[in-house]
């Protein structure tokens, strides 16, 4: 049912010098500590990381809860902030597809899509036999999710020992890790244009509309990269 060798290969991406484990751990330790301060109990904190597994959305949820926002408001703001997962999923699933694989694997494993796991699989999938790519992806995904849940537990438990400066330090790790991964992903001119225009437009649009800035910047930046002629005049 699952090609175990490929699954293990995916799981192994959590160790070594390209490991996302540390960056994931830092951000989810900070989240666990934040949950404790916000008045969540341990089970609720772990459930949130397991069932949502998307840091920006979980931050929005906690903030909205603290200011007493309505359920509808929480739903809409989380949906908007996590909508980036839609284009990310569409840009991933086709490369993992194989006719011999059952559809449930795709609908189940899409839950593992998050920035770090996505960047890893986009970096590595070409090395894997197309038939077993979904199993490889399930290894990466379940490993990163497990690391996130465990780190939430860790952060919740050690929250009293973390001072403000350490919380700031922990929050810095994730953006630095993502940025390095992105720089590593800039293999061709078009991807480079997509990434650089996103970096410039994102903060610029934020000044006009904080809620829509990311989607708008990415939509425009990605379209510019798409329209520019690549090698051999291809789009």
């Amino acid at each position: 049912m699952i090609h175990f060798k490929s699954y293990l290969k995916g799981l192994k991406s959590l160790v070594g010098i390209r490991s996302p484990a540390l960056a994931l751990a830092c951000s989810f330790i900070a989240l666990g500590a934040l949950f404790k301060q916000a008045g969540f109990n341990l089970q609720q904190s772990l459930a949130s990381s397991f069932f949502t597994y998307a840091l920006p959305g979980q931050l929005v949820m906690t903030e909205s809860f603290l200011i007493g926002a309505s359920i509808i408001n929480i739903f809409l703001s989380v949906w908007l902030v996590n909508f980036r997962l839609y284009p990310m999923t569409v840009a991933l699933v086709p490369v993992l597809k194989h006719k011999s694989q059952p559809r449930w694997k795709y609908y189940l494993s899409c839950h593992f899509i998050a920035v770090s796991s996505w960047l890893i699989v986009k970096d590595e999938y070409k090395k894997i036999d197309k038939k077993f790519r979904i199993d490889f992806w399930m290894g990466i995904g379940s490993g990163t999710l497990a690391a996130a849940v465990f780190s939430t537990y860790l952060g919740y438990t050690v929250s009293d020992y973390l001072n403000q400066n350490m919380m700031i330090g922990l929050a810095m790790v994730n953006p630095v890790y993502f940025l390095c991964m992105m720089i590593g992903a800039m293999a061709d001119v078009k991807t480079r244009i997509a990434i650089i225009s996103g970096i410039i437009l994102g903060p610029l649009f934020y000044l006009v509309s904080p809620e829509w800035s990311i989607l708008l910047a990415g939509g425009i930046g990605g379209t510019i990269a798409f329209l520019i002629k690549g090698k051999n005049g291809t789009i």
Binding site: I17, R18, L22, A23, C26, A30, S48, T52, V60, F65, I74, F75, L76, V78, N82, F83, R84, Y86, M88, T89, V90, A91, L92, V93, P94, K97, Y106, C110, I113, V115, Q164, N165, I168, G169, L170, A171, M172, P175, V176, Y177, F178, L179, C180, M181, M182, I196, G198, I199, G202, P203, Y206, S213, I214, L215, A217, G218, G219, T223, A225, F226
Partner: protein, 106 residues
């Protein structure tokens, strides 16, 4: 409503609101081939969205980073990128460094 019931409800709502995008993504991808033009568009948009998100996290942070200065953040980011490039793309070194530097500089 009890506070604890309320927390469970918002966790469920947040998880559903998040999963919708992933689910719709797989649904859309059912008809998309990795060699198609539409796939290529989604691919660049996804990279660009992530880049925009990361730039926003550093320049206009939503987390504890709000309590540090922008100059220090940009300084730490530049050093970490330099370390990443000179260490032949080691990702662990710059991430550890970012934590240590910011904890002491913030």
């Amino acid at each position: 409503m009890e506070l604890s019931d309320n927390i469970i409800l918002i966790i469920v709502v947040t998880s559903v609101a998040t999963f919708i995008s992933r689910f719709l993504g797989v649904l859309t991808a059912e008809k998309i081939n990795e060699k198609s033009t539409i796939f290529s568009w989604f691919n660049y948009v996804a990279y660009s969205i992530l880049a925009a998100l990361i730039a926003r996290m550093i320049i206009f942070p939503a987390s504890a980073l709000q309590d540090s200065s922008l100059i220090i953040r940009l300084f730490v980011v530049s050093i970490c990128i330099a370390v990443f490039i000179y260490s032949k793309k080691n990702l662990v070194l710059p991430t550890v460094l970012s934590f240590v530097l910011l904890t002491f500089l913030a």
